[in-house]
Symmetry: C2
DNA sequence: AATTGCATCGTACAGTGTACGATGTCAACT
DNA sequence: AGTTGACATCGTACACTGTACGATGCAATT
């Protein structure tokens, strides 16, 4: 086995989860905290992409030494996990959740999801290979509840959820991978037109060039929902 | 700009594409060749995962020095690109392609796609962040052609293709991320049951535990196809 | 024999994540 | 007041990574 991933609990000092019961402030500004680390990591990821996140650079932005981070965090992978889950927190709109239009709710939840991941393109390519954090699970839970209340039978529930999940994940990761730099984009287009005679159908429909991503997402989602629960 | 990605053509020596017209054997066994490098890289990826592919280890397996690889390959990223595209080559079954059952064809192509990516789990997490190679484009082209022949209007073609693509990508990446080591699996399950009171619906449907992945994939795909082209 | 292009390799370097221990800080207890 | 000990920060060091650069061998051609 080559597995070297550490479990959920490490034997590191690792910092206790919040104060036990001595409910007093940590005096003034902690200088370093999990929240600040994660927030700054997200900034850095947004600005520099997935390969731009280095522990030293993160520490620089925080005005601390590199090794100081390891008091709050077990390793770099944990930073990725926390950043990903943090970004995916669902700030649900109560008025929509309270409505009876379950289809509208589902569409809203999924479009919100997609919007978040497109705002932070690194999250799309990270999601497939990281564990499920609490915010991700919350989104799944909320979706389950909505579908269940909408009358989807328990037997079909898992199929419905996974289908929608798959669709969103696929759509965002694909979309994110097309959000490359202009340089890459130009190179890709050049390569494609050079090979256009080998892919005539794709070329004709201009599949890769001018797809209306938002519209395509919405229409495909409608098709999927039609299949899941014909109206 | 932090972009350091190289374009399609590098100014490296890089090896000419096949022999020009002096059609003679390169004497005996080339010891090193693009094909052998890619094949060995796939072996290594299968065995050690995405982080297990190091240039030195790859060279060891090939019985060569590390730097020798760079004659055939521009950089490590190119190895990923080649391995990914190589694995995704479609060995279509003519009898199925020739049939008139377009829905069967589509299902077959997508299940084959999924099977390939589950056989090489690293490919699932790689696909979202790499460029589209010729084999991937071929698969898209074949799908386009099939759907087009099936009577899907040009206006709906892109929606249909992207929806199916999204579904497959999402399903395989999700599935692959659940194919962790037993250790991780145990830790995840433990964490989930510990938090089960916060996710009652998920817990009840056992969404994360005993989903029948193959069945779910097939059923969801049927739903999607129903929506795309009601029978 | 000399040249030329192909292919391989050894060495070296600039980064990377992080192990380890030293050091500072502050609240609580004696 | 003095001591302790948990919390938090940091400097240094190391193993390991991708790969730039130049030396070296080798076959075919001149």
């Amino acid at each position: 086995m080559a597995g070297k991933r550490s479990g959920t609990q490490s034997k590191r000092p690792q910092r206790k989860s919040a104060s036990l019961q001595s409910g007093q402030e940590p005096r003034s500004e902690p200088l370093l905290s999990l929240e600040r680390i994660v927030a700054t990591a997200i900034e850095l990821l947004d600005a520099e992409g997935i390969d731009g996140l280095k522990m030293r650079r993160l520490a620089d932005r925080l005005g601390s030494g590199a090794m100081s981070l390891y008091w709050h965090v077990g390793n770099k992978e944990e930073v990725f996990d926390l950043a990903l889950d943090s970004v995916l927190e669902y700030r649900g709109l109560p008025e929509i959740v309270a409505s009876q239009d379950w289809r509208g709710q589902v569409v809203h939840m999924l479009e919100d999801w997609r919007a978040v991941m497109l705002r932070h393109p690194w999250s799309a390519s990270l999601l497939p290979r990281r564990a499920l954090g609490p915010n991700i699970l919350s989104r799944l839970e909320l979706m389950s509840k909505t579908l269940s209340r909408a009358g989807v039978a328990d037997a079909d529930l898992n199929v419905a959820i996974w289908s929608l999940w798959n669709y969103v994940i696929g759509a965002t990761t694909t979309r994110a991978s097309f959000d490359l730099s202009d340089e890459d984009r130009a190179a890709g287009q050049q390569r494609l037109t050079r090979l256009s005679e080998r892919y005539p159908t794709i070329e004709r429909s201009r599949l890769l060039l001018d797809s209306d991503w938002d519209g395509v997402f919405r229409k495909g989602l409608d098709f999927l929902l039609d299949g899941l629960a014909p109206r």
